[in-house]
């Protein structure tokens, strides 16, 4: 009978084999399926697509600026509400005078510092009158959006002009809705970071700093 003592070993191993073959601990993947991205996320078009020609669309008709403004005389000075072009609200900071940029008589053009017209498709020369440093940066390529090739010997490079990003009448770059944040593998619940103790001077500027210090 004592020899039977170890007979249970193969039996146990066979039982173990049976259990393992039945896949007792299956793997459930924590990988979540992808939520489709909203279209705005992959949209690479510039925020504005101005046509860079002196045209104005009213109803179904497209007019050249000079069509009307040849007839209508320009007032001496502006800073009044417009009767036409009511969609335009001038919020250009200290620049409240329309004729700083627009030519008083040749409405198909802008105006430079000496009263000479600047063509409508060269808006950057208008902006450069006041925004010198940014214009220099734009010329060097440090400001503004560039697409295409960094190596212009191999291909063309597209340099966006000012008003392709900035509305000339309300130039601050418009805020936009961001793309969704990261959702990586097993990320777990994420809370906003908590910072600053009670005596941090910057707490004055931190609307969402939690009251309890942790760092």
């Amino acid at each position: 009978m004592k020899r039977a003592q170890s007979f249970w070993v193969p039996l146990v191993l066979f039982a173990g084999a049976g259990v393992l073959a039945l896949n007792p601990v299956p793997f459930e993947s924590p990988v979540v399926s992808v939520t489709p991205l909203p279209a705005r996320v992959t949209d690479s078009a510039p925020v504005r697509q101005p046509k860079l020609v002196p045209e104005y669309r009213v109803a179904a008709f497209t007019y050249q600026c000079s069509d009307c403004h040849r007839i209508i005389p320009s007032p001496q000075e502006t800073l009044r509400s417009l009767t036409q072009h009511t969609e335009i609200t001038l919020r250009h900071g200290l620049n409240t005078r329309c004729f700083n940029c627009h030519h008083r008589t040749q409405r198909d053009a802008f105006v430079d510092d000496w009263g000479e017209p600047i063509p409508w498709n060269q808006p950057q020369l208008v902006c450069a009158k006041c925004h010198g440093p940014v214009y220099r940066d734009w010329q060097a390529g440090s400001h503004g959006r560039i697409n295409g090739f960094w190596d212009t010997t191999r291909g063309p490079q597209t340099r966006r002009k000012c008003i392709e990003c900035h509305d000339p009448h309300a130039p601050p770059f418009p805020p936009m809705r961001p793309a969704p944040g990261p959702n990586t593998l097993r990320m777990g619940p994420q809370e906003p970071p908590r910072h600053a103790a009670e005596h941090d001077p910057l707490r004055v500027f931190a609307p969402d700093r939690a009251p309890k210090p942790s760092h």
């Binding site: 070993v9 193969p10 959006r145 593998l185 760092h215």
Partner: protein
């Protein structure tokens, strides 16, 4: 297992009998069979391995990228193309662009202009064939607090209705292609190295997946494929290269390569092309006419986590002029497009 002598009392004076009796043989055989069947059952999950999971003989014997002859590379590219065709049903164009002479790439990021829209993140994902599930994104945009350049106070998961939020500033972080890369230092098999044009690359067919480089990177720039990456076939970018955006397999590392399949043929990287505010600047720092040269020369530029001493090639800058503000700046080649 059940040896005839397991009874200790019978161990002393035993006549010289053969140790192997028929019964003993049967018992031992059963035990061996039991052990082997248990081992086979334990290994039964391996039946779910597909033929695609295991490397073919040619891939198994493939040399390190730096040791491959041009014929080896041609064969490897053909194998990858065939693999992409099989897996995605897409005919890909897989190239191996060499580094350009006299070129050292540098990236500039204008933190006066970044609004935190995260379009760069998704353009990169699309361009570089990154896994959508599980999600891998090379670029991580940090929403930083006023007065802080410490990433400990950054918010990675901001999701407000509008960006930029007041009193925040935004700092996208991706691989900085450091000049003294700690990831290259620690890789035990030299699967990652720095190319002459400054880009740190990975040979996805050489990486053993130890993740030491991921631990070493001070910028959390490297990603690991914990499982087989999933990319919808319709979203695949078919313009690929060996060292950058060809589809990876599970178990290997990947990271931003400054889109070397684009930049080594003169194009701009995908993250830069999509940025709506033009905050991203890229080019050859050795070219005195490039934007990045201008930026590094004239702008207030800083390096993230400079104290780790890795000498990144990614520079954050502000739009105010730097120490040369008394110098007149005449653009060397005023560039007026169109």
């Amino acid at each position: 297992m059940a040896n005839p002598d397991s009874n200790p009392s019978s161990g002393a004076a035993k006549p010289a009998t053969p140790e192997m009796s028929r019964r003993g043989f049967f018992v031992k055989g059963t035990a061996v069979a039991a052990g082997l069947s248990a081992l086979a059952a334990a290994m039964s999950p391996l039946r779910h391995l597909s033929a695609d999971d295991l490397p073919g003989l040619e891939e198994f014997l493939q040399k390190h990228y730096k040791e491959m002859t041009p014929e080896d590379k041609t064969r490897a590219l053909a194998r990858i193309q065939e693999h992409v065709q099989r897996r995605f049903g897409v005919t890909a164009k897989i190239a191996d662009p060499p580094p350009l002479d006299g070129v050292e790439f540098v990236y500039g990021l204008n933190i006066s202009r970044c609004i935190g829209c995260r379009k760069c993140v998704h353009a990169c994902v699309q361009e570089n064939n990154q896994s959508r599930s599980p999600e891998i994104q090379y670029i991580r945009v940090l929403e930083m607090e006023k007065g802080s350049i410490d990433v400990e106070s950054a918010n990675h998961h901001y999701d407000s209705a509008q960006v930029p939020r007041p009193d925040k500033w935004y700092m996208p972080v991706q691989c900085h292609q450091c000049a003294k890369p700690p990831c290259v230092k620690v890789c035990p098999v030299e699967a990652t190295w720095q190319e002459p044009d400054g880009i740190t690359v990975i040979d996805y067919d050489w990486c053993i997946g130890c993740r030491y480089c991921e631990a070493a990177c001070p910028y959390w720039a490297r990603r690991f494929n914990f499982t087989e990456p999933q990319i919808p076939a319709g979203d695949l970018n078919a313009n690929m290269s060996y060292l950058s955006n060809r589809p990876r397999r599970k178990g290997v590392m990947e990271k931003c390569t400054f889109c070397l399949h684009r930049t080594r043929v003169g194009r701009l990287p995908a993250c830069l092309e999509v940025c709506p505010t033009g905050s991203r600047k890229f080019g050859n720092v050795l070219d005195p006419n490039s934007e990045v040269h201008y930026i590094l020369k004239h702008k207030r530029v800083y390096v993230l986590k400079e104290e780790v001493g890795t000498l990144p090639r990614f520079f954050y800058y502000f739009d105010e002029r730097g120490s040369r503000y008394r110098e007149p700046i005449a653009p060397v080649n005023p560039k007026e497009a169109r």
